[in-house]
């Protein structure tokens, strides 16, 4: 197993990537202490490095060993030297020595150490190490019985695996690796630390989680949570958090399993523990909660995790911790209103988040360049996190939204540069659910302007969010509705309905529906014109029920007041009747059919439009059928339709009544007056009265 093919030195391919840039050096003090390499030129450095590589090929094993040790000392903390050695092809030789069972254990260990050291360098180093198939070689090395050698291999593996450039999949290619690593967990604290760290970094997909879980990760790692070594505890915790992420199976086992590490994890959130540990433990519990293993009203979530995460957002924490804390908190409370309410009052979270926008602080700008650099780097992340949290906070509760919009400059911040960030849009969307905010601050800040701009060209993901927000802004009571209409939104929305993404189609048609609600004749005509009947029918045959529903809703809104009905029906009556027939005949859910019948009822309310139905015997038969349907809602809608048709005060009502009586509607109505549903009963009675009058 774990065979490694030794290939010819990869000098050429490696050379092409070098010389490397001076990366961040891991242990700077070592570097500072070391005298500079003699000579300044690159060639000379390579020459001195070559000496180390040459010694690896020495026939005397003792010399080789000494060479490796010297190399180890030369390479520590010296990125340039590392790069040189890699360029000169030291890696394949080291790997060869490492794998040779003939070489002494000491030599093999030293080789692993040197490789580990090389891996500590830049990302390029790691890349070339991985290219040299270092991972299978090191995994092979783990089969050795010597603990020191194993630890050296693991250390190197750890360094390689935690780098973002390493393909994680390499750990899972050989199915025997994971069980072997599990069995090594008991060897020493170092193996525990390295292995859990590898797991924590290499568990990226649900498949990985399952693989680890199936190999008993929980039983094996749970005892490490109470290890005397802080590093081990920390890595075990991180490991659990990645395992539990969106994984119900793992989470349930963590909470209910026989090892039950869950109380230990809760204890790790105690306030006297290091911040890193508190944060990771809270994250772990958050994932467990979101995966459904812990109820959101459990005291460990409400009274421990949530306050802990809020604490992580406070000013005293480091910027990174604040970002992570805020993001985790946003994730935790996303689905639960109660948690959002609690969080909104805990430790002034809302105003605390406003501080996130104050970086980089102007005070330190000039004096402390390093700080500025750091702040700049995190400023963006901080903002993102804050918006994420705001979005999460405000998604359900009106009071919280109010609180957020009342935070100083909040709306300005969101609106300015809206196009830069999808999270801002999300936040805005969250806030747009509030009737009050729509009528006040959204209007005050002319949110629609940047939003419209955003809708012109934005990636789909943002577009979904933005159009959804626009839907809310187009609600009848929104004061922004008028200006938006004037800015030619209809065209835009119509183009959205032609989008490939169902979400966008829904949003587009939804927005149109909202717009059409109690709108002017002009607007309605404009909508119908812009959309075009063809598109309308295409939407009516959309595979997505949501789109269908909204389209029907749009039709219903379009066909609302009597003059509008007549007007639209006169121009598009035929198509609409066709579409309605189509839907009523098709296989659709009750809701869809109900909507359709409602449309029919609306049509029946029109003066001239009535005739479209009356002349359509097929349609009348359908209505008759639905009046006798088992579903009360459908019955109600159909009865409504008939009631409209036979309404007394209108011209020609007598003829219609007669016709319908002939078709046997009176009997059905009579039957319906005895229906158990009071609404239906009432409706039928009203209809009967029309006959009597």
């Amino acid at each position: 197993m774990m065979a490694c093919l030794l290939e010819a030195p990869l000098r050429i391919s490696v050379l092409s990537r070098f010389p490397p840039t001076a990366g961040n050096c891991k242990d700077k003090h070592t570097k500072a202490l070391r005298p500079r390499e003699p000579g300044g030129g690159y060639g000379e450095v390579t020459a001195t490095s070559r000496h180390y590589v040459d010694r690896l090929f020495d026939p005397d094993p003792q010399n080789v060993l000494q060479g490796v040790i010297d190399m180890k000392n030369a390479v520590i903390g010296n990125n340039k030297q590392k790069a040189n050695l890699i360029v000169l092809g030291a890696v394949p030789r080291l790997l060869y020595l490492l794998q040779q069972s003939s070489s002494s254990l000491e030599l093999r260990t030293e080789c692993a150490v040197v490789l580990g050291s090389l891996a500590m360098g830049t990302e390029n180093n790691i890349k070339s190490l991985v290219d040299c198939h270092i991972i299978p070689a090191l995994l092979q090395g783990l089969l050795c019985s010597d603990l020191i050698f194993i630890e050296a291999c693991l250390r190197c593996l750890r360094t390689v695996f935690i780098s973002p450039v390493t393909p994680v999949q390499l750990l899972y290619t050989d199915p025997t690796v994971i069980p072997h690593l599990m069995s090594l967990l008991s060897r020493s604290q170092h193996t525990q630390e390295y292995i859990t760290q590898i797991f924590a970094h290499c568990c990226k997909t649900p498949e990985h989680q399952t693989v680890l879980f199936n190999h008993g990760a929980i039983q094996n790692i749970a005892p490490l949570l109470i290890s005397p070594s802080y590093k081990v505890r920390m890595q075990a915790l991180k490991c659990f958090s990645v395992l539990a992420y969106e994984n119900a199976q793992v989470s349930m086992t963590l909470v209910n399993g026989e090892h039950d590490p869950h109380p230990t994890i809760i204890k790790m959130m105690q306030r006297d523990k290091p911040i890193e540990m508190q944060l990771t433990a809270a994250k772990c519990l958050t994932y467990m909660c979101r995966a459904g293993a812990i109820r959101t009203d459990d005291s460990c979530i409400v009274l421990k995790t949530l306050p802990c995460l809020v604490r992580m957002c406070s000013k005293e924490r480091l910027l990174e911790e604040r970002v992570e804390g805020a993001e985790t908190l946003a994730y935790l409370m996303e689905p639960d209103v109660e948690l959002q309410r609690i969080a909104s009052v805990t430790d002034h979270l809302v105003s605390m988040l406003a501080d996130y926008f104050k970086y980089p602080s102007s005070v330190s700008a000039i004096t402390d360049i390093k700080r500025l650099d750091h702040d700049l780097k995190h400023a963006h992340e901080l903002r993102q996190a804050a918006f994420k949290l705001y979005a999460s906070l405000g998604s359900n509760d009106e009071d919280i939204r109010k609180k957020i919009t009342e935070t100083e400059n909040m709306m300005d911040r969101i609106v300015s540069g809206l196009s830069e960030s999808s999270i801002k849009v999300r936040c805005l969307h969250s806030l747009s659910r509030s009737v009050q905010q729509l009528r006040t601050s959204f209007h005050d800040h002319a949110v629609w302007k940047p939003l419209m701009k955003l809708l012109q060209n934005a990636p789909d993901e943002v577009l979904v969010m933005a159009s959804s927000t626009l839907c809310n802004l187009l609600l009848e009571f929104s004061p922004s509705k008028e200006p938006i209409l004037e800015s030619g939104v209809i065209e835009l929305l119509c183009s959205l309905t032609q989008s490939d993404s169902p979400a966008l189609r829904v949003n587009g048609i939804w927005a149109l529906m909202n717009m059409a609600f109690q709108a002017d004749q002009k607007v309605k005509v404009e909508i119908v014109r812009a959309l075009g009947t063809e598109q309308l029918f295409r939407l009516l045959s959309d595979p997505d029920t949501n789109v269908l529903m909204k389209t029907l809703g749009l039709l219903r809104n379009l066909l609302s007041t009597r003059p509008h009905i007549d007007q639209i029906m006169s121009s598009h009556g035929k198509q609409i009747m066709q579409a309605v027939t189509l839907i009523l005949e098709g296989e659709h859910s009750i809701e869809v059919k109900e909507q359709t019948l409602c449309i029919l009822a609306n049509i029946a309310d029109g003066n001239t439009a009535k005739e479209l139905i009356m002349t359509n015997d097929d349609m009348l038969q359908k209505i008759k059928y639905y009046m006798g349907h088992s579903n009360v809602k459908l019955q109600l809608a159909a009865t409504f339709c008939i009631s409209n048709l036979i309404w007394n005060e209108e011209d020609g009502s007598q003829e219609r009544q007669d016709k319908l009586r002939e078709m046997g509607f009176v009997d059905i109505l009579h039957k319906l007056t005895q229906a158990s549903d009071p609404n239906l009963c009432d409706r039928a009675k009203t209809a009967m009265q029309q006959y009597l009058a």
């Binding site: 105690q270 306030r271 006297d272 409400v302 009274l303 609690i342 009052v345 805990t346 430790d347 002034h348």
Partner: protein, 949 residues
């Protein structure tokens, strides 16, 4: 606090308040509780049904529980007596329906303090019987012969039976209980005598024209009766008053109830009165209810008399009936009234819930605020009944606050402060307030205020007052306008207030969630305060009586870590080297002070550069002889001290005293108290069997004991074998210095001194194993002993040592004894030897006389007295090691003696009495208490003990 579970009313659980046949709650109408002669209780309805069934004669009821037949006194079940206890409980329930406050105030009529102690005593006599919440104390007149009941009155004979069985079981009581009884009886007699003799005495005084005293005496009896009457009346009036206030819109049946209650209260008052006079005139016996009920009763040491239930006198029979409740069973007893005896039972609710709460409170406060010295700065435990505005009413041990003003304008606001300010030594202080009712408008303020701030305001409106208000959720920081702070709060919410005395901030919590900092720069000495403003507002405080909703301990942990990190990272700066040197110096001087010679040497060696400094500094301040000692040779100065200490620590006090007297002749003469202490210790060691005198008597040859070289002179004496001397020295350095023992077993003397007294058997085993060698030593040392003891007799003022050396017990005998000891492997008094015990007793007498002598000469000394008393107490136990005073026998107790002696000796050499290290520790501790006094909260988390291991 005081949230009596709804179902517990006047000591009844809901279970007891329902009929056991139909499981319906008793009522005052159709389901009136009726008691049968077998003492079982049923509701009238069920009784009627049973009667209808007619299993027996028409005028008798068969008890469904025990089949006892009760004759009906009248025609129907109504004629049966009511269960008075239950009726009164039902009444009180009705009362309570309208009156939420002062739950059981009305029921407490009398709580005779004198019985308090009795309950406590009888409880300790049989602590196993503690189970439920009630104590039944039956007070009854002793009967020489049981009254034979009239024939045909079956029901009475049954109760007599139970009484007879009771009397028989009295014999089981132990003498302690009897003692209590007697003392109680005497006490009551005395009180009664005083009370009743006041009238003739008053008359006599009047005649003698001592008018004032006479009038006082004469009026004592009527006045006290009057007081009791007035009290009863007041009580019921108060209650009515309350009712009318709290339930202005209640049902019309009120009047009837009121009358009933009034009558009830008056009756209770009269009953109480009679009870008092009866108590005063009758001898009483107190008895535990186990015997009465046959089920385990409850007695609690903290249970106190809080509720008397005197049962109504049955008018028909003219007898008293009394009922005791023990949680599940009830026992009724009745007795004929015609002078021959009273039966009475007093129901004592051991107000266990309350005491538990108090205990919990104490525990929690101690755990939360370990640094607070409650003698100096007491913690707030309740609201202050004095420091409040008149619109505030307090109840439930001053923990519940309710508003009783008009509440029309903000001028009607009222607040109350806690009894004490928050001590700075808390570090972090926390209390919670639960909103029981938000009243009309919920204008409640929770916060802090300084002493003297106007109480006619909500907290936060005035200077030095801070509050968080429930109506708008604003925080008020010494101003009339609030800042938006948190959510509003209302009925059911728990609001906590946490004062951080380290950075002088305050934050609130709502239902366990921190709301963030509310105030900064708080002044010191603030009182927890609540303010209410509209009628109906009721809040309960929790100063630690219950677990807090917010996890305050977690918050404290965070601060503890912070403070400790601050201490750990205290910047030392440039002078790092100096610090190290100073610390090393201190440690070295500490070691030298306590004569941990070898350790000091090792320490000096390991801290390399410190050696010279150390020695130099010692040279500067110590006498010549000390220097030599410091370097490690045991022959000049420290040697003797070490040796004495070694003797003391190994429990061989007799020798230690001798040696001291020999080396520092004037020391003990000048310090008689010290000598006394040493001797008391010697006595204890004798009991322990470790002192040399007793030891040789008990288990060892006296020669081998005394052979231990007591002075350097002996050491160098040519008689001594080289081997022995060498053992001594090595053992000396290694064993003793660390105060740890390790048995070498070279000589008996050696193993003896190094073995702790708690494990004599292995030591003896060793001795037995090396018997040959020991004999050898014994023989060898014989010469020395003469020499030595002669020397002692010259210099010593104690006569007993000579005596000890004359005890001629040969080695064979010793060995035999030892074998027995090791076989038994059990600790015995003085090592188990009769002679040793005698010697010990003799020594005790000497000690006693010495103590008397001391007292005559130097006046009383309570410390000495206590010491002696404690030491003698050891003899009172068959196994002193496991007795309450057994701690004295622990070898650890030798250490204070040792260090006192050490200090005294060092003092004679003009050396500091305490090592600098101890001084530094003391100073640090003092600093902390100073910090607490000046209001620096960090002291809470910086205990000196944390740094001493």
């Amino acid at each position: 606090m005081g949230q009596f579970p709804e179902d517990v009313v006047g000591g009844f659980t809901a279970e007891e308040l329902e009929c056991k046949i139909c499981y319906c709650a008793y009522s005052l109408s159709s389901r009136r509780p009726k008691v049968l002669e077998c003492c079982h209780c049923l509701c009238a309805k069920c009784l009627a049904k049973i009667l209808d069934l007619g299993e027996s004669s028409p005028n008798a009821v068969v008890c469904p529980f025990c089949r006892y037949i009760t004759e009906l006194p009248g025609e129907d079940v109504d004629s049966l007596p009511d269960d008075y206890n239950l009726v009164s409980a039902l009444l009180s329930i009705q009362t309570r329906k309208h009156q939420n406050l002062n739950a059981n105030q009305g029921e407490i009529l009398l709580s005779p303090r004198c019985l308090n102690s009795l309950v406590g005593h009888s409880a300790s006599a049989s602590p196993t019987s503690i189970r439920s919440n009630y104590v039944v104390i039956t007070i009854m007149e002793p009967r020489q012969e049981p009254v034979i009941p009239a024939a045909g009155r079956n029901f009475r004979s049954s109760s007599q039976d139970s009484m007879a069985s009771v009397t028989q079981r009295w014999t089981v009581w132990n003498c302690a209980a009897l003692l209590c009884q007697t003392s109680a009886r005497v006490l009551v007699w005395l009180l009664g005598l005083l009370y009743f003799s006041s009238l003739p005495l008053g008359v006599y005084l009047l005649i003698m024209q001592h008018t004032t005293m006479g009038v006082l005496m004469v009026s004592l009896v009527p006045v006290s009766l009057l007081i009791v009457m007035v009290y009863g009346l007041c009580q019921c009036l108060c209650r009515e008053f309350w009712d009318s206030i709290s339930t202005m819109d209640n049902k019309p049946s009120e009047k009837e109830d009121m009358l009933l209650r009034l009558a009830n209260s008056i009756r209770e008052a009269v009953c109480g009165l009679i009870a008092v006079s009866w108590l005063a005139s009758r001898p009483i016996r107190i008895k535990q209810p186990r015997n009465l009920s046959g089920c385990s009763p409850a007695v609690s040491d903290s249970g106190r008399l809080s509720h008397w239930t005197l049962l109504k006198s049955c008018p028909a029979k003219d007898s008293w009936q009394a009922v005791g409740i023990d949680g599940r069973n009830r026992i009724a007893m009745s007795g004929p009234s015609s002078g021959c005896g009273f039966l009475m039972s007093v129901v004592v609710h051991g107000d266990l819930a309350l005491n538990e709460q108090e205990k919990e409170l104490n525990q929690r406060l101690r755990r939360l605020y370990p640094a607070v010295n409650e003698q100096e700065t007491p913690l707030p435990r309740s609201w202050s009944p004095k420091d409040k505005f008149s619109y505030i009413g307090l109840s439930q041990n001053n923990l519940r606050v309710h508003y009783k003003g008009h509440g029309k304008t903000p001028k009607d606001a009222a607040s109350v402060r806690a009894t004490h300010p928050i001590p700075a030594a808390c570090g972090v202080y926390y209390f919670e307030v639960k909103i029981i009712s938000k009243g009309r408008d919920g204008y409640m303020g929770i916060g802090l205020s300084a002493q003297g701030v106007n109480m006619n305001r909500l907290p936060g409106w005035d200077k030095h007052s801070y509050g968080y208000h429930g109506d708008d959720g604003h925080s008020f920081c010494s101003s009339g306008t609030g800042q938006p702070y948190g959510p509003t709060f209302t009925t059911g919410d728990v609001i906590g207030c946490c004062v951080n005395l380290i950075n002088n901030t305050c934050f609130y919590t709502k239902n366990g969630h921190s709301l963030g900092i509310a105030f900064t720069d708080l002044p010191p000495n603030l009182y927890p305060t609540v303010g209410l403003q509209t009628p109906g507002e009721v809040v309960d405080a929790n100063f630690g009586q219950h677990p807090f909703v917010f996890d305050i301990e977690d918050y404290m942990r965070e601060w503890r870590t912070k403070i400790q990190a601050q201490i750990d990272r205290f910047p030392i700066g440039e002078r790092e080297g100096e610090w190290q040197a100073m610390i090393q110096k201190m440690v070295a001087s500490y070691l030298v002070h306590h004569s941990y010679c070898a350790t000091a040497e090792a320490f000096a060696k390991s801290t390399d550069q410190a050696v010279h400094e150390e020695l130099a500094s010692i040279k500067n301040r110590q006498s010549e002889s000390l220097q030599a000692a410091q370097i490690g040779s045991s022959d000049s100065y420290l040697g003797p001290i070490l040796e004495i200490q070694k003797l003391v620590l190994s429990g061989r006090m007799g020798e230690a005293i001798e040696t001291t007297q020999q080396l520092y002749p004037s020391l003990l003469e000048r310090n008689p108290d010290l000598l006394f202490m040493l001797k008391v210790r010697q006595f204890i060691e004798m009991v322990n069997g470790t002192d040399s005198e007793v030891r040789c008597l008990g288990g060892r040859s006296p020669k081998s004991q005394d052979s231990y070289p007591g002075s350097p002179r002996l050491f160098n004496s040519p008689v001594h074998k080289a081997s022995s001397s060498q053992t001594y020295q090595t053992g000396f350095d290694s064993n003793y210095c660390n105060g740890v023992s390790s048995s070498k077993g070279h000589t008996s003397a050696h193993s003896h001194k190094s073995c702790p007294p708690t494990m004599p058997s292995p030591e003896l085993g060793v001795l037995n194993g090396s018997r040959g060698q020991q004999t050898n030593v014994g023989a060898e040392v014989e010469m020395e002993v003469d020499h030595f003891s002669n020397g002692v007799s010259e210099s010593s003022s104690n006569g007993f040592l000579n005596g000890s050396s004359t005890h001629g017990i040969d080695l064979e005998e010793c060995d035999a004894d030892m074998e027995v000891d090791s076989a038994q492997s059990k600790r015995q008094l003085c090592g188990g030897s009769q002679a040793a015990i005698e010697r010990m007793i003799q020594f005790g007498r000497e000690l006693q006389s010495m103590s008397e002598h001391l007292r005559r000469e130097r006046g009383k000394n309570s410390a000495n007295k206590k010491m002696l008393k404690d030491a003698f107490s050891l003899l009172a136990y068959s196994d002193p090691w496991n007795s309450p005073v057994g701690y004295q026998l622990d070898s650890i107790q030798r250490e204070p003696v040792c260090s006192t002696l050490n200090s005294a000796i060092l003092e004679t050499h003009n050396l500091p009495k305490q090592p600098p290290l101890a001084l530094a520790v003391g100073q640090a501790a003092q600093c902390l208490s100073l910090m607490a006094r000046t209001g620096s909260g960090s002291c809470a988390f910086a205990s000196v003990d944390d740094y001493l291991h």
